[in-house]
């Protein structure tokens, strides 16, 4: 098969997206100047290009979902500069090298209520003339050093620098997207999209190395570049970035700077199927009910074909063997989301905010103390602490936080940090995974939640969360944590357009790790909650939830407990789940920001949880994170 040709610039900020294409079997990278990239794509000399967004306008290119080069605050490499501030300018020289930046400069100044004259001029001359009532657009290295390199300022008359990333963000509360992968219509297969996502995942993982290599080529300190790549530039194209991109294109069109554009996306749903051996539904159900191990073919058949009542009966039979005393446990715990700032921009998340956003937060000690004290007052014994991947928070921040929690509230269990967050901390702090976990444990971490698993199949992960850790990485954290004696839960969030084989693969991968470590205490699944996110659900129903939940009880023969997800499904469906495989009712909800941001609003206190358990015919019992039964506090 001939390779696709992809054009991209060799700029530093593009490298995390392109580095992983070296040696790709599908895509050949062609390095070129920005204007050449656009021209080659236009002429059909390449199939796709890392395209500045202004070049999308009026074209029918297909954008690769999930990936972009953008910023949600200062970008450092696109600035307006002058001797005086922008409101003193009557003329602005526009660096001719980048159309997107030219348009951005005009849109931003317009947003600021300013209307200087715009004159195209190469950057060198523009900067030279940016004195008095004149300003200049500066991009790339020159801009970078205007900000970073106070000691080597080649233009001493420039005293005012307006970072256009920050200015855009302040004007719109949205991130700015500078470039995306764009392809000629119809050429990209879902596998190609997956390949680009894979490359990005690889590139983002080696940002430190990219920074070091760049410093060798171009001079400067690796740390300066590393910070730029990890903290300034964002590589996700999530709902906020998309909103930012659309806002940019529509404002530019309204101002007559670009033709109107409707964004189109490349198809990212991979459809491949292995040949499945013939299995009988009855046999598979019976095996599951009897606790015999199901293989992938049997599990997929059940997932696709078994009626809900039959799966429910089999799972119920299994639950009766595993938990014969009719006790249904629950915990009183509080879910605290310490920050909503996140860099992964997953398409299914309604909770995250870019760093510069008006609603972005990092929880302070005072508020956390209040939340913990309220939890203790309600009989709570655990805090479930999770957050976004905040680019500025290193391991010391977490260590301090955990030590403080443990010192202030010795009875509280810290159930904290999904595998994704642990990777992120290791990356930000440049530490090996094992050491990261050891340090977190030493500072008070008791157990880890199984969040962020979504669907543990890279075909799906690359599509819905291209910047999240891979399946192997997620499982590696869990194995490492289990080896250190930590216990964790495991989750599955499905209904994001995945197929049966992906869900089954997820369960099998978990089962494999559990055989090895025995460290999973419980499994919880739920369907993707679609409101306020840009994914449209394929199957978001309660029916699908009950089926997959029951299937999980059958496939995960080595995971002791199954939690019913009343938070997402409501108490009634969760009660049905107790009769179809579950033996645990999760947690009393004091707070759950992530799910409720996506429009789910179920709430219950302990009395209501116990009423639901009792009415469904079971005996309620409080537990701790290790699923040991504990007394009900007064």
């Amino acid at each position: 098969m001939p390779k696709l040709r992809a054009a991209a610039v060799s700029f530093l900020n593009a490298r995390p997206l392109t580095a992983g294409l070296a040696g790709s079997q599908r895509i050949e990278l062609v390095l070129a100047e920005p204007s050449a990239c656009a021209a080659m794509l236009e002429r059909g000399e390449v199939d796709l290009a890392l395209q500045p967004v202004a070049a999308l306008a009026g074209k029918d290119y297909e954008v690769v979902p999930g990936l972009a080069i953008g910023a949600d605050g200062p970008v450092q490499t696109v600035v307006l500069a002058g001797e005086n501030p922008p409101d003193a300018w009557d003329e602005v020289f526009l660096d001719t090298a980048s159309r997107t930046s030219q348009v951005l400069a005009q849109v931003v100044l317009r947003e600021m209520g300013l209307s200087p004259r715009f004159t195209p001029l190469p950057a060198e001359q523009g900067l030279e003339r940016a004195r008095g009532s004149k300003g200049a657009l500066v991009i790339g290295d020159r801009a970078f050093w205007l900000v970073e390199g106070a000691s080597r300022r080649p233009y001493p008359h420039v005293r005012q620098v307006l970072d256009l990333g920050r200015a855009w963000n302040q004007a719109t509360q949205l991130p700015m997207v500078f470039a995306v992968w764009a392809a000629r219509p119809g050429v990209l297969s879902p596998e190609d999209v997956a390949e680009l996502a894979r490359a990005a995942q690889h590139g983002l993982g080696i940002r430190t190395e990219i920074a070091t290599a760049f410093a060798r080529e171009a001079g400067g300190k690796p740390e300066t570049y590393r910070r730029y790549l990890t903290q300034r530039i964002r590589y996700g194209l999530g709902p906020y970035e998309l909103a930012g991109l659309e806002a940019f294109l529509s404002r530019a069109a309204a101002a007559g700077l670009l033709p109107p554009t409707t964004l189109r996306f490349a198809d990212d749903v991979v459809r491949t199927r292995r040949v499945r051996r013939q299995v009988s539904l009855d046999t598979a159900l019976q095996k599951g009910a009897d606790g015999e191990r199901l293989d992938a073919d049997e599990a997929e058949l059940l997932d696709e074909k078994a009626p809900l009542v039959e799966l429910g009966l089999a799972a119920d039979a299994r639950r009766r063997v595993l938990h014969p005393d009719g006790v249904v446990t629950y915990i009183v715990s509080r879910n605290v989301n310490y920050t909503n700032v996140c860099t992964t921009a997953c398409s299914f998340c309604a909770f995250y905010r870019p760093r510069g956003h008006g609603e972005a937060y990092v929880l302070g000690r005072e508020e956390l103390a209040r939340k913990i004290e309220e939890t203790i007052a309600l009989g709570g014994i655990e805090i479930l602490l999770q957050g976004g991947l905040h680019p500025d928070l290193g391991i010391e921040w977490y260590e301090d936080l955990f030590r403080w929690v443990k010192a202030s509230y010795p009875t509280i269990n810290l159930h904290a940090l999904s595998p994704e967050e642990i990777w992120h901390i290791a990356r930000v702090s440049q530490l090996p995974l094992d050491e990261t976990i050891s340090r977190l444990v030493a500072s008070g971490l008791d157990s880890i939640p199984g969040g962020g698993a979504e669907v543990l199949d890279d075909e799906v992960r690359r599509r819905i969360a291209p910047l999240k850790c891979s399946t192997d990485e997620w499982l590696t954290v869990m194995k490492a944590a289990h080896r250190k004696g930590l216990r964790s839960t495991a989750t599955l969030m499905f209904g994001v357009g995945e197929e049966s084989r992906h869900r089954v693969n997820h369960l099998l991968r978990l089962r494999e790790v559990q055989d090895e470590t025995g460290g999973f205490t419980a499994f919880i699944c739920w369907t993707f909650q679609p409101e306020n996110t840009r994914l449209t659900p394929s199957e978001n129903g309660a029916h699908a939830y009950l089926r997959v939940n029951a299937l999980s009880r059958l496939v995960l023969d080595n995971v002791p407990n199954l939690q019913a997800s009343w938070v997402t499904m409501g108490g009634g469906v969760a009660q049905a789940a107790l009769h179809m495989g579950c033996n645990d009712f999760g947690s009393v909800m004091i707070e759950e920001n992530v799910v409720s941001a996506a429009g789910t609003t179920f709430r219950m206190d302990s009395d209501e949880v116990e009423r639901h358990i009792r009415e469904a015919g079971f005996v309620p019992q409080r537990r701790n994170m290790r699923y040991e039964r504990v007394g009900r506090a007064a």
């Binding site: 964004l263 009855d282 089999a314 129903g541 029916h543």
Partner: protein, 385 residues
């Protein structure tokens, strides 16, 4: 055919004899219904109810395109479970009464939406004349001849008979002549006198309610039957309620569908003392009703009260009919229902398909108008748009 797993579960719980009767098409006794209510083996009774449901209707799940019209909420009755009724139509009491023109206009305004039925239920207004009710039906019928008019619960019809000095039959006949085609099943609540004394002691009794439906059936007017559960009633009183319906159905065959309605506790007089029945209670009630009411063709889940998720799940617990698009529902929403005000047809289709069923649009007499596609057709996921 019932699966091995189902047989095993039913036998484990001592439900073998009940299963045998169901499989042989023999009628369950009230004691057996109580046994089913109390088993606590939800998966097993779901399997049995689902078996009956599929034997009757296969994979079809029915719905219709309908709109509700509640011409007034002013009501002389003081039912303790009601959040809708108001003592008068002064703005201070949040009461309202539509003029005939307004009411008719509200229905005719739905023309472009392609509804096939209007469902008319009101309060028991102290002052409106008989002509108002007749004329409302007549004018809708005249303006929109093919629309099904399902109007006035037995409680209202009984109130009309008393207030205007007519027999049930007379009331019904005049309405039928004006254009009424079926009557809704509301106002049944729970038939047991003990319960009616507590929650609705000043409206039609069980006997009067049943008498109105008997009269309707005699005139060839089909009707529905409801049961409001999850408040002060005991399980044996639910069963008694269903048993009375089953007896009348044996006699007339005029009931089309049984509709259990979960009590909603907000903004009414007894709500504070009672918690909303849990979903478990709803699901077992559907299953028992499907098994006990062997002479009812259809069992309907009212998604407005149940929520869309449980309504979807109920399609595996004996339910074959979902209330329709239900434009402009007021009664449950004033009792705190948080469900949407209406479901579009594509939304209903998706809800049904994702339960592994096939959406079938029906008319008010349960004739299938259109079957929508094969089951399990996946809804295409748009590429990240």
């Amino acid at each position: 055919m019932l699966s091995k797993l189902a047989h095993r579960a039913l036998e484990r719980d001592g439900l073998g004899p009940i299963r045998d009767k169901v499989m042989e098409g023999r009628r369950l006794t009230e004691e057996e219904a109580l046994r089913l209510f109390e088993t606590r083996d939800l998966a097993a009774i779901a399997a049995l109810a689902n078996h009956v449901r599929e034997a009757r209707h296969g994979d079809l799940a029915f719905y219709n395109r309908n709109a509700h019209l509640n011409p007034t909420n002013v009501c002389v009755a003081t039912c303790k479970f009601c959040s809708f009724a108001r003592p008068d139509d002064r703005p201070a009491s949040q009461g309202y009464t539509m003029s005939l023109d307004q009411a008719v206009e509200q229905v005719l305004g739905k023309r472009s939406l392609g509804i096939t039925e209007v469902h008319i239920v009101s309060g028991l207004h102290p002052d409106l004349p008989w002509e108002y009710y007749l004329e409302l039906v007549r004018r809708i019928r005249r303006a929109w001849p093919e629309l099904h008019i399902k109007a006035y619960t037995a409680v209202e019809l009984h109130f009309f008979a008393q207030k205007f000095g007519k027999s049930h039959e007379q009331v019904l006949r005049e309405l039928q002549e004006a254009g009424l085609t079926t009557i809704p099943g509301g106002g049944a609540e729970i038939f047991a006198p003990r319960v009616r004394r507590k929650i609705c002691d000043d409206k039609a009794t069980a006997e009067e309610w049943l008498e109105v439906h008997r009269a309707a059936h005699r005139l060839g007017i089909k009707s529905n039957a409801t049961m409001l559960y999850g408040h002060v009633e005991r399980l044996d009183e639910r069963i008694d309620h269903m048993a009375r319906l089953r007896r009348l159905q044996d006699e007339t065959g005029g009931f089309q569908v049984f509709i259990p309605l979960a009590f909603h506790p907000e903004h009414n007089m007894i709500g504070k003392a009672f918690e909303k029945p849990t979903g478990y209670d709803s699901l077992r009630t559907y299953a028992v009703a499907r098994l006990f009411l062997d002479n009812f063709d259809h069992l309907k889940a009212y998604w407005v009260s149940l929520g869309e998720r449980l309504a979807q799940v109920s399609l595996s617990f004996g339910v074959d009919d979902l209330d329709g698009t239900v434009l402009e529902e007021r009664i449950y929403h004033m009792a705190g229902a948080t469900t949407p005000q209406a479901l579009s047809e594509p939304q209903l289709h998706r809800l049904i398909r994702q339960a592994g069923r096939v959406p079938a649009e029906r008319d008010s007499l349960y004739h299938v108008l259109r079957v929508h596609g094969a089951p399990g057709t996946p809804e295409r996921l748009p590429a990240t748009a």
